[in-house]
Point group: C2
Chain length 209, copies 2
Amino acid sequence: MKLYTYFRSGAAWRVRIGLHWKGVDFESVPIDLRKGGQAAAEWLARNPQGLLPGLELDDGTLLTQSLAILEWLEETRPEQPFLPQEPVARARVRAVALAIGADMHPVQNLGVLKRVEALTDAETARRWAHDTVARGLQSVEGLVGRNPGPFAFGAEPTLADILIVPQLFNARRFGVDLKPFPRVLEIEAAASALPAFQAAHPDAQPDAD
Amino acid sequence: MKLYTYFRSGAAWRVRIGLHWKGVDFESVPIDLRKGGQAAAEWLARNPQGLLPGLELDDGTLLTQSLAILEWLEETRPEQPFLPQEPVARARVRAVALAIGADMHPVQNLGVLKRVEALTDAETARRWAHDTVARGLQSVEGLVGRNPGPFAFGAEPTLADILIVPQLFNARRFGVDLKPFPRVLEIEAAASALPAFQAAHPDAQPDAD
C-alpha cells in the first residue's frame, strides 16, 4: 500500500494516524504540492480534485478523501476500531470529525488562504485562518466538553481524535490561543502518548524539512 | 422524528432526500437562521455548531452534521441503500460526497460569503461563490465522468447524488455555467424524476417563501 502524502498536510496526517493505529504497513510517497509543476500535473491526472492524500492499494486502485479512506480502513480492518458499534454513538463521533473535516479545515486550507490574500493582504489571510480555527475549536469544545476523557469520547481514541490532533498543529501555526479549550488540549495530550499518533506526526515523516 | 431544517439549506436538503428515500416519517421544524435572534440562540444551545440540519430522535437525542445523519440512516435502515456493499465502492461514493460536503459547500456557505463581503464587496463575494462551485463541479465531473449513468455510480442513486443535487441549486444561484458538466446534469435529470428527490426540494417545504 502506498500513501501519497505531504508531511504538513493535515488531511494526510489523519490517514497516517489511521494506518498506524490499524497496524497497516505502507510506503510513504511524498508530493510537495506547494511546488506545483510536473508533480502537481501528474497528481491531478490521477486525482481530479488535485488534493492529498491518496491511498494506492496493491492492485493500483487509488482512494482519495481522508474521511472516505478512514471509513474504508475501519470497514476492512475492524480490529482496533476507531468508531463505536452503536449507531447513535457513531453519528456523534462522525459529527465531530465533520465539524473539523468539513466546516473548519477546508475553510483554512492553503488554496482558500491564497484566495483571501489575493483579494486582501497576507495579514488579513492570517487573521482569516486564525478566526476560522478559533471559532471551529469553540464548536468542537462544545461538542465534546461534557464527554468523559481523556479522549473526545472516553477512554479510547476515535475518528474525532484523529481529526482533532492535526487541526491543533494548524491552530498553533495561526496563533490561536488554546487555553479556552481545555478538553481539546486534554485530547491532544492523551493522543501524544500513543505510538500511532507519534509515528504519524509531521516531524516523523521522510519528507519533513 | 423531527428534522430541524430550512428550506434553502443545502445540508438540510440532503437529509430530507435521505429520509424520503428511506421512507422515514418525520416532522419538519423550520428554523430561519438568517433572522438570527431568539431562534438562533436557542438552537446554538442545542447544537454548539449553530448549523442546520439537526435530526431529533423520538427519545430527544439530537443528531447533527448531514453526512453523519445520512450514515446513521444507512446503518439503521439498510433497505433502499444509498451506499454500495463493497468497501472500495463505498469509499469512492463517499469521496464524491466529501468533495462537495467538505471541499465545496462549506467554502461557499452563507457565513463564509458574509466574511468575504465584509473584507471586500458584494460582487467579490458573489464571484468567490461562483468560482468555488465552478471549480468544485469540475472536480466532481472528473470523479464521476467515466462511471456509467444516469446516476453518479450507475443505475441507482447513492450518497454522491444526494450531495450533488442540492449543490446544483446553489450553482445556478451563483450563475455557474453548467454546460461543461454533462454528467452532473444527467445525474440531476435522473434524480428529479424520483419522488424522494421531489419531496425534498426547497419548493416543496412548508417554510418555502
